[in-house]
Symmetry: C2
Subunit: 453 residues, 2 copies
């Protein structure tokens, strides 16, 4: 590696803080059965210790997308630190006949001891970008396949959708409210990924506790229905939360609700939320009504089944924030990123210093580019990204470009931890480097080309 790869001034190393009781204590069985049977067969045949390079990448972007966003790095490192085959896990594998005693004993001592390089979290990726490069023995590297793919495939899909939303929202805050529409722990990961891609807050309390994402929320329709009148409900909410709260005004009649909200707060109600109807028209109507009633500082939040196209359609409406649910947590049509994890090089023998050779399968439509990759993003004279340039087995070292790999794990030690805001800030910078076409909502090709050299 050149020095350019190693220097990453914005990678900090915060202390590893406990996440508390809702964390999963071991991640080792979040793994496919066949990783263990491959390990078992390789231990038996003597090939388990062959040095290998594996790569995590996507063959293409989700159909029509211009760029993708890397997310999951911090979660993957956390999961790696908890990847331990404890007694219970090993006993399960033995009882089920997945592994033999030799393999179970090997697993008892397992700690990943190799090197992992990867794209930094929040950065942009394109087809063929090597998001992770794992250099280790076959035995160690193959075990990580499923867990790394699960985390990257999910988190990057959410971040990639979220980035399009925050781009088109153009500075207006986007709020993540999709927990109820996806699996309960995916929801927590989705809130984190959305924050990296520029969302301002989340409804998920666990995302607040675990990752420090700001949490938001006030009341649902049920709260209004609980009370004998909408006015009673509003009064109760204002009493508990103060006038700077957000009142949901579409349970019955919107105009009546807005008038009540303004009256109860002397025009000081913080915000009103619209969760149904023709939002561009309704927002304009409510803005006029609020202004007429003297509540000029009251903001309008909209929330009903928004996606990046709905947000675009609301660009001209007097809206101050977008709550996004289903479309965000399902990746807006692309709930997975389609990443794969492939061996791209291996040692010619079991000797520790045996040279590595390229390997690549030839399966129809699934061919792999062999060799260790050195990815750079090349810029034109104006500083705009123009090529994803990927060196094979050699570092291209560009004058106008930046290297894309950062060290994540060195000799088994996790070195790539960083605060979540570092990833969020990086995303803002990396997206700003792209050609303007990247932000088009219409379907198209990746905004820059990937070139292997």
């Amino acid at each position: 590696m050149t020095a350019a790869h190693v220097q990453q001034p914005d990678i900090q190393q915060p202390e590893l803080e406990p996440w508390g009781p809702s964390e999963v204590p071991t991640t080792a069985l979040l793994t496919d059965h066949y990783e263990l049977t491959m390990l078992r067969a390789a231990l038996q045949s003597g090939t388990a210790d062959r040095r290998c390079t594996f790569e995590l990448f996507g063959r293409r972007l989700p159909d029509g997308r211009r760029y993708g966003v890397v997310a999951g790095v911090g979660r993957a490192l956390r999961a790696l630190s908890h990847f331990r085959f404890d007694d219970e896990s090993r006993q399960f594998l033995l009882d089920r006949g997945v592994v033999d005693r030799q393999t179970a004993d090997w697993l008892a001592d397992f700690r990943f001891s190799g090197q992992i390089w990867g794209y930094a979290e929040g950065d942009i990726y394109f087809p063929g970008s090597p998001l992770l490069i794992v250099e280790s023995t076959f035995a160690e590297a193959v075990l990580l396949e499923t867990l790394m793919l699960s985390i990257y495939n999910h988190d990057s899909a959410i971040a990639s959708a979220a980035s399009r939303m925050t781009a088109v929202a153009d500075g207006r805050p986007c709020l993540e409210m999709g927990a109820r529409r996806t699996q309960e722990l995916s929801a927590v990961a989705a809130a984190r990924a959305a924050y990296i891609a520029g969302f301002s807050g989340t409804s998920s309390l666990e995302a607040g506790r675990r990752y420090g994402v700001p949490t938001i929320g006030t009341a649902a329709h049920a709260f209004t229905l609980l009370h004998d009148s909408e006015e009673d409900a509003f009064r109760a909410q204002i009493q508990a939360m103060g006038t700077d709260t957000t009142l949901l005004v579409d349970t019955y009649d919107v105009d009546t609700a807005v008038r009540t909200a303004v009256r109860l707060t002397d025009g000081k109600i913080g915000a009103v939320r619209l969760d149904s109807g023709d939002l561009p028209v309704l927002a304009k109507h409510v803005r006029t009504l609020l202004d007429d009633l003297g509540a000029k500082d009251t903001t309008i939040i909209v929330t009903s089944d928004l996606d990046e196209w709905q947000i675009a359609a609301l660009a001209g409406a007097p809206v101050d924030g977008y709550g996004v649910g289903t479309a965000l947590v399902t990746g807006s049509g692309h709930p997975t990123s389609g990443f794969v994890y492939k061996m791209v090089a291996r040692a010619t023998s079991d000797e520790p210093d045996a040279p590595l050779v390229h390997v690549a399968k030839k399966s129809t439509g699934k061919a792999t580019v062999g060799g260790r990759k050195y990815p750079w993003r090349r810029f034109d004279a104006a500083g705009v990204a123009e090529t994803e340039l990927i060196g094979i087995d050699k570092d291209p070292v560009l004058e106008h470009g930046r290297p894309l790999l950062v060290p994540l794990v060195k000799d088994g030690e996790i070195v790539g931890r960083e605060p979540l805001d570092a990833a969020r800030d990086r995303h803002t910078r990396a997206r700003a480097e792209l050609p303007l076409d990247a932000l088009k909502m219409s379907r198209g090709e990746p905004v820059i080309e990937t070139v292997f050299v």
Copy 2:
């Protein structure tokens, strides 16, 4: 409730077994911020103890689907039993200003103490089917909203897609292999949901340990690439796993691989797996080759990007099993079920014996049917389902039909646990009750109509 609702002979009550270290110890913060602020405001205004009925239902099926499959019931009950605001959770909520001291103290003692009825796991549902009915105080019922929705929305989406796949596979085994394409813990839930809907096994080891789903898997392309030759790799796998293993034969040349597999095992190789190419043509070719080589008992497993339409297209091909990944774990185009959780009735005052009145919001396009529901599936003379008949505030008690609610929680005690195979068996029976049109792959309307009476 009538006796008919209470009698459910196939609901058993197994012991609650520990799932081990990968279980999440508390689920209380897998909750939206606004549930807690509503609680806080209701405690302050004195409405928190009003008796309420909440309902979890879908307004429609995913576009084009004929029926949906209920899944997540067992997970939801498990999550409910772990729904505790421990010291750390409460401190977080206080530190962030989500709740005040009064609310935090209330949460310390929180145990759900109400009644929950629901559709049994594995049963079929239609638009408007009340999948869960929660009868409790507002404070208790509102806290469950996000967690119940997350679990039901995800698990039922997976089971609904899986059921279409097992239906069209028509007895050939379907194997769940999608862990790598979805969030790492969604993967475990997806494997469980797929098993309920008739899948035979999963690649996910954690699903094996946690839920007892059979796990399957042998080797990936990387195992072949690791070795100096394909023959070396096959020999290593056979030595470790026996001849009854499944060899992946498309890393290089399929014909050569099949010949090698047969030669190394004297024609006794258990199965070959095809993971690329034009599968209907290739499967036929490989079947002929295997037969010509005398390996007539060797089976063929196919795995490349299958969904229900691909499985249908392979109906005439000599295929013995389907491995399904991405399409399964993403709900085959519908990654969420679109369920909502709405208040449908509440007491007229805070008195414990105050009568309940219907409530329903009037938001455009999101109207709710108020009242406590009593759903039945009505059959025609031939025993085929013809209507989802839902009584409002009264039990219709049909002669040719079955009641759809089972008791899940009584006075806070979980009574609805059952072995996973009970749900799987129920799904087989419930799907067999539907009109044949239910199994059409083409897009269409729900196969029976929902009628409120």
